[in-house]
Symmetry: C2
Amino acid sequence: MPKQYVVGIDIGGQTSKLGVVDARGDVLSQTVIRTDTFGRDADAYIAALAEAVKACVAQADMTMEDIRGIGVGAPNGNYYTGEVAFAPNLAWAADQAVPLSKKLSDACGVPVSLTNDANAAAVGEMAYGAARGMKNFIMITLGTGVGSGIVIDGKVVYGHDGFAGELGHVTVVRQNGRACGCGRHGCLEAYCSAIGVARTAREWLDATDEPSSLRDVENISSKDIFDAARTGDALAIRVFEYTGTILGRAFADFIAFSAPEAIVLFGGLARAKEFLYEPIVRAMNENVLKIWKDKVQVVFSQLKESDAAILGASALAWEL
Amino acid sequence: MPKQYVVGIDIGGQTSKLGVVDARGDVLSQTVIRTDTFGRDADAYIAALAEAVKACVAQADMTMEDIRGIGVGAPNGNYYTGEVAFAPNLAWAADQAVPLSKKLSDACGVPVSLTNDANAAAVGEMAYGAARGMKNFIMITLGTGVGSGIVIDGKVVYGHDGFAGELGHVTVVRQNGRACGCGRHGCLEAYCSAIGVARTAREWLDATDEPSSLRDVENISSKDIFDAARTGDALAIRVFEYTGTILGRAFADFIAFSAPEAIVLFGGLARAKEFLYEPIVRAMNENVLKIWKDKVQVVFSQLKESDAAILGASALAWEL
């Protein structure tokens, strides 16, 4: 009988979440380890991760014999090389290329498949979520940054070098664009990430005298703006309209590329669906070529947020 | 023995070119018929086309028995449905969807594969041209309009509906962009097609008193600007610099999508390589994410221009 279980690992800057998952997408056991307590020692991190995998498998009353493989989503994870390379938020991979797939596979005795977090989310959404049954869609992750996973004919696009799908870094403002973490200016991420949204609010508060409950908040976060919008704060609502408009315009260009059936939104900021959906869809349909007007769905992830990252990564392992 | 010959048909607004092609990409015979003398009568056009196919095959000392299939490149040609639908430049398909693949296949007795002209060019470039051996590249056709064919993992991207790859209609100027033939504003095509280039020159001539040999030309075409640039006309050279800069910036965004190995340029305007290459490459590398800086090639088609359209379409038929 083929092995019926996989392990999904979501590597974030602070913590790594992992879980044992079955074919229905149920998470049977899960655990968390720190990512950021190993300094530059990649081997120590991978050893701790392998221990956590084994513990998590034992916790589900299994042995590694029951596990078909491990799927890993990590910042700058490269599907082709199995390396995590030059990831600014991971101290042990910030200035080196770490062969994570190979080392974790050696330590655990099962195959490992690695990709970046947004691609993993796309695979998860296709396997268990809002994109079930879709062959052509674009996953946009709205978190601290803006990531993307592009699926064409049922397969994630990795491109020539394994790094395809950096749609957070298309240029949306050509003149005097905001500085982006990537070192360039005017990127989608600089406007439509959680950080970008907070920046919009702070800029508008500084530039006007418009009353807003946000004036009482120190270090405004995207969560604060969401909360303010829910209480009817006009400025906060406009921040989401602005953000949604920029997203929708960018989506119109993405559609011209791969003619997807849907654009799927995921991530912390996607929780603001009630404020983002309408401006996104309006701007997208105002800006898209006529042949696609009102034809491309905008859908929000249906995965339980607590499980989604693990599920996404685990789905990679089914292809092993 | 498998059949060793295919027919390629390139349908343009005025003429349709067709030829018999062998596996090495040699055009053994070719002919041309009018596209624009059938009014709205699609059946009459297809009947004439089928006759021309048979005549062209006979001219190569063959019968239809020797032909594996027919590949067709046509404006708005849809790979999935085999239809040419709502193509503004084809009177017989301007306001209806014509099942060209089926009707031509019935008339000729061999299978027919149809796609749009830019996708056909991409397949041709992969089979016989500058993209031989490449699995991931983007074909940009710089003609009357700007078209594109996107190849990922060795396959043309058709998308959910068969219309993927309309990169001539990404928005490159968001505010006060030029009107585009598609009814929108600020499209890449409005700036970087042959028509767009001529428009740039006319706008600059109107706006300044700068001396230029182009002031003596009536109805300036992109060819006139090319000729002027070759004689050292400073304004004409700057028109190409401007055009190349807009292309290069757009290419930087395209790279973030599919991480191609190369961008391949084809079409009448690509003849101005000596003036376009440098600004394109400079703008592309100035605007692309660091991981792709100086890594993506910009190459110009190596197909003989007289044969290229037929070759591109014919290459589709090898997949039949």
